[in-house]
Amino acid sequence: MDIVLSLAIGIVFAAGIWLVLRPRSFQVLAGLMLMSYAVNLFIFAMGRLRVDHPPLLTEAAARGKPVDPATLAAMADPLPQALVLTAIVIGFATTALYLVVMIGSRGLTATDHVDGREPDQ
């Protein structure tokens, strides 16, 4: 599972880098989105990959009773998941903002090149 996930993150990120280096602003936008997906997966994976381990405390622990160490070992780290949520929201908002600027630039300069003019002009 580790290999599959790291390969997936690597391929998505590499595709993102390639797209970001392209000259059209829509390609850059798509590249940034792919890269942010890869980064979100990466943060998630940094909390260690474990199957069947919900990030939840048992009822006893939530009520302040002493926690059995075995319950903690069966619990996934909730913090990276919270970080991913925040990162997704922020990434979504800033990407949307970039999209607006891109459309504005397309309208004003009549080209979708990232330099605001075609290279041969």
């Binding site: 940034l32 990466f42 940094m46 302040g64 800033t94 903002l97 970039y98 891109m102 504005g104 605001g116």
Partner: protein, 546 residues
């Protein structure tokens, strides 16, 4: 927790509330919005002054004030921490914001709907980044700051700003992703994101995981280096500065310093006394390359806005090289240089627009034809009382900015460079001055010389070449545009006159950030305030009783 501790939250809360209150107001309310924004900035200035007095005056133990957000104890909740360095940076932010906002009063603040709102959110992000001591929270405040700067950069919509804005946004989005990767790696290796907790755990980490932490720190630092425009990561900067409207450009100067501030704080915290030599070396050589790049750029351009941008790059490079050189006594001089160069470049960027109004008759006709074909959201030229002796004011202010950027006496640039050389040439008893120090001195001197040449050339062309037959008409300047420039220059003069006390304060600030043990103890041992309601354990006991 004492009642005054809540003051620590004010620099974040004030602009947030003020910006939110202004968001629904439309363009017609710009006077009210300006008044609100001005009041908020004045409040920030007052709170920054009080925080400086509190950290330096012994109100808090060891000069470090800790505010536990939502009353969670340190490694679990987010800790806001004010020490001497943070308080000083808050003060610098408030002073610059005051100048930029005042400059925007007559013209730039009146166009567009959300200038004042975004300006407040930008201040909130900057202040938060100075105060927070949690890595992920730092990311959030960086994003608040960047998102508002995207909007502000586009303020006064024209094709040039859109083009610069698109590249600026793309570069910064990519930098944010690096920021996240760095944070994730550091969390994976240490299991914490609280800076104090990290500083404590990083020494005890297993050798096998050490590489992971260092990789995380490097990737995180790359994100900051993009913000502070180290060569080869800073190509976005001159275009962006030259395109932004003057009050926004003045604030952007401060934003490059936020990246430098983060590097200074985090590296001294994590790797004190050269614990990670290759990283410091990379900063030193990268900084040196940045100085060379910035100096070459200053010589190669003849537009004032780009020249100011390259000036900011030179100052970033100098600071990074000083951090990379890693000598404890250098920090105070470096911080003095940071203050002085920020004020100088900001004043210059405000001045650029006023200088651009000097038009020879031929240039004026050309400009009118160009404007007729360009889509631009441009404020009207100021009306009302002009300022007497406009040309003399422009020329003298320009000369003052040039002196400060080039580091010539008598203004603060000279004191800063003198302080740097003094620290470099006195590395401590019995230690020789090494080759790196000589290289830094040579580079700083050479970049100063290059700035003199570039600024002189521009000054001669602008102020002297326009006399005689092609005599330029003196431009109309409004009082509200002249005051901020004079204010920033006066601040620089105050810095020169009061250099002794300021160096004393900076010395204490520099010593404070190089003592991780004190800082770690203060942050982690601050107990949460006892609440008025019984805690969960008591509630459980009560439920179990009947």
């Amino acid at each position: 927790m004492k009642a005054l501790d809540h003051l620590l939250l004010l620099p974040v809360l004030l602009p947030l509330l003020c910006g939110a209150a202004m968001a629904p107001l439309t363009q017609g309310w710009h006077r009210l919005k300006f008044a609100l924004g001005y009041a908020s900035v004045l409040g920030m200035l007052a709170s920054a002054l009080v925080l400086v007095a509190m950290t330096d005056g012994g109100y808090w133990e060891k000069g470090i004030g800790v505010y536990l957000a939502a009353n969670w104890a340190a490694p679990f909740g987010i800790a806001l921490v004010a020490d001497r360095l943070a308080a000083l940076m808050l003060l610098l932010t408030a002073l610059l914001a005051l100048a930029a906002l005042h400059y925007a009063m007559q013209r730039w603040g009146r166009i567009g709907v959300h200038f004042h709102t975004l300006f407040q959110f930008l201040l909130m992000g900057i202040n938060g980044a100075f105060l927070t001591h949690d890595l992920f929270n730092l990311f959030v405040f960086f994003e608040v700051m960047l998102a508002s700067s995207y909007g502000l950069l586009l303020h006064g919509y024209n094709a040039e700003r859109l083009r610069a804005g698109m590249q600026y946004i793309a570069v910064n989005l990519a930098a944010s992703l690096l920021f996240l990767i760095g944070i994730a790696l550091i969390y994976a290796a240490t299991g914490t994101l609280n800076m104090a907790d990290l500083a404590q755990r990083i020494d005890a980490i297993a050798a096998a995981d050490r590489g992971l932490v260092e990789a995380g720190a490097i990737i995180l630092t790359l994100a900051f280096l993009i913000k502070s425009a180290m060569w080869p990561l800073g190509f976005w900067l001159p275009t962006t500065y030259a395109a932004a409207s003057p009050p926004v450009a003045a604030m952007l100067v401060l934003m490059t310093k936020v990246g430098t501030y983060a590097i200074l704080r985090l590296w001294l915290l994590w790797f004190p006394a050269g614990a990670f030599g290759p990283g410091y070396d990379a900063l030193l050589w990268g900084g040196a390359a940045t100085i060379v790049f910035g100096a070459a750029g200053m010589l190669s351009t003849d537009t004032a806005g780009r020249m100011a941008g390259y000036g900011a790059i030179v100052s970033s490079g100098t600071l990074l090289a000083l951090i990379g050189y890693g000598q404890p006594s250098l920090v105070a001089a470096g911080l003095y240089y940071l203050l002085g160069s920020t004020l100088a470049v900001a004043a210059f960027l405000l001045l650029v627009e006023l200088i651009d109004r000097i038009r020879t008759p031929g240039a004026a006709i050309l400009a009118v034809t160009m404007e007729a074909y360009a889509v631009e959201d441009k404020p009207e030229e100021p009306v009302g009382q002009g300022v007497p002796a406009a040309m003399a004011f422009l020329a003298l202010s320009f000369a003052a900015c040039a002196l400060m950027i080039a580091g010539l006496p008598p203004l603060s640039g000279f004191v800063a460079k003198f302080g740097i050389f003094h620290a470099l040439l006195n590395p401590g008893a019995g230690m020789p001055v090494d080759a790196g120090a000589w290289m830094l001195i040579a580079l700083v001197l050479a970049s100063g010389l290059v700035s003199v040449v570039a600024m002189l050339r521009f000054g001669v062309r602008t102020f002297w070449a326009n006399s005689g037959a092609t005599r330029a008409t003196p431009p109309r300047l409004h009082r509200s545009e002249v005051m901020p420039v004079l204010f920033l220059l006066a601040l620089s003069a105050v810095m020169t006159v009061e250099a002794g006390p300021i160096f004393g304060y900076l010395g204490r600030a520099g010593a404070g950030i190089q003592r991780p043990a004190d800082y770690v103890a203060r942050v982690l041992q601050t107990a949460p305030a006892p609440g008025p309601v019984p805690g969960p354990a008591a509630v459980v006991a009560k439920e179990a009783a009947p």
